[in-house]
Amino acid sequence: MRAAELDLDLDVFAGPFDLLMTVVLREEIALAEVELGEIVLAYLEHVEEQGDLDLEAATEFLVLIASLLELKSRLLLPAPEEERLELAPQEAAEELLARMLEYRRYRGAAEHLHRLFVDGRRYLYRSAPLPPELRRVALDAAKPSYQPDRLASAIGDLLRVPPAPDTTHIRPTVSLERRLTVLRELLSRRARLDFDEAFGTEDRLTQAVTLFALLEMHKRGEATWNQKQTFGPIEITTPTTSSASRPVSSGSGASGGDSADSR
């Protein structure tokens, strides 16, 4: 299910948690059907349109959605029978839940503050200088307390114009479509790819979106990958080069691509 079909009015969400909670809580949608990559891109584009995006914000969002992604990847990827070192799905869910609940608390507090604000702004306070006789006394009691240079340096700050923000590094790299094309092209020429070799020099955002693209290709049966150990090299293969019945294996490294190679 694509982001557009979800009928999300991105304007009404204050942040990714808001958005994710809504997606997760929509009765009619199973998590497995949601195109997270689409939502990520739609969200990033939306934030960017509002002129609010810096790379840091994008990274924040990706780190966040990674928890949800982890859950989802367990739907798409076959489960290994044996021991797993990573978080059990339940733990991953609990972790994400904890963050959502923390956010929920402050969203509730924000609603409360909003009510206080609406009530409070009906009260206007007097803002008047002191009557002249009190001002005279204050003047007599005044001793130098501030540095005049503070004013001169403030003028300097105000004369400074920040350089135009450089956004060239953001947009061109985050198209899921583009990453899909790149992956397909590479895989049409070579049956196997090392992720780091192929994409290691790209920036973090590009690498992350490439991973989304890989997930997408796996779902469509176009590619699979093999990572023998945590943080180890990721080897991408097309189904024709790996033994079809066991597309991914995290434990038994000798199967799949490796054995095909040794033949």
């Binding site: 942040g15 367990r74 489960a79 799905p89 339940q90 509730g108 924000a110 206080l116 702004r121």
Partner: protein
């Protein structure tokens, strides 16, 4: 009205900021207990008048009755303060409850960089910088103006944030829906 009540009322009228009981006692050369009594007696005499007594930002202050708001904005050409956006309200809530709090911490909780909300709240005088954390990040806290505009007697007048946590049923539902991922994978 006693002389002390009259003087307390005059001081609250003159002072541009809320005045604490201790400050009133010092200025009036009386005890805090006497000030407390004077304030208690003053409050009902304002009933039905154009001015109300409010306890905000750690002190006492007078404000115009809300009924006069529209006329006052016309007279003083004072536009209504714009409402807070949700991003601003969330950021303000995080600063109010966790202060002093750094910008990365705000971003962590909101899940999104909150630069522009922090900047707007600072501009509006609701939060301010209060130094740097051990890691060099700017840290923020709320201002007395925040307490005044939000009608808070003090920061401890904010309700326990646990009150805003979702109900156990809501939490269970959220957990269940997240865990569905795990169940479906057995298929």
């Amino acid at each position: 009205m006693t002389a002390l009540q009259r003087i307390v009322e005059a001081l609250l009228f003159l002072s541009p900021e809320p005045v604490s009981t201790a400050e009133l006692a010092e200025a009036c050369e009386s005890t805090e207990a006497e000030i407390d009594r004077a304030i208690d007696a003053l409050e009902p005499t304002l009933d039905g008048r154009g001015v109300v007594l409010r306890q905000v930002a750690g002190g006492w202050t007078l404000a115009a009755h809300p009924d006069a708001e529209a006329a006052a904005r016309r007279l003083l050409a004072k536009p209504r303060t714009p409402p807070l956006t949700q991003a601003q309200a969330e950021t303000l809530a995080i600063v109010a409850y966790l202060q002093p709090v750094s910008r990365p911490e705000i971003a962590r909780i909101r899940g999104v960089s909150s630069e522009s909300a922090v900047q707007t709240l600072t501009e509006r005088g609701l939060i301010e910088e209060s130094g740097r954390s051990r890691f060099g990040a700017v840290i923020h806290r709320t201002t007395p103006l925040f307490e005044r505009l939000f009608g808070l007697a003090g920061l401890d007048a904010l309700p326990d944030p646990a009150r805003f946590d979702p109900s156990p049923e809501d939490e269970r539902e959220l957990r269940e829906r997240l865990l569905k991922a795990g169940e479906q994978r057995a298929e």
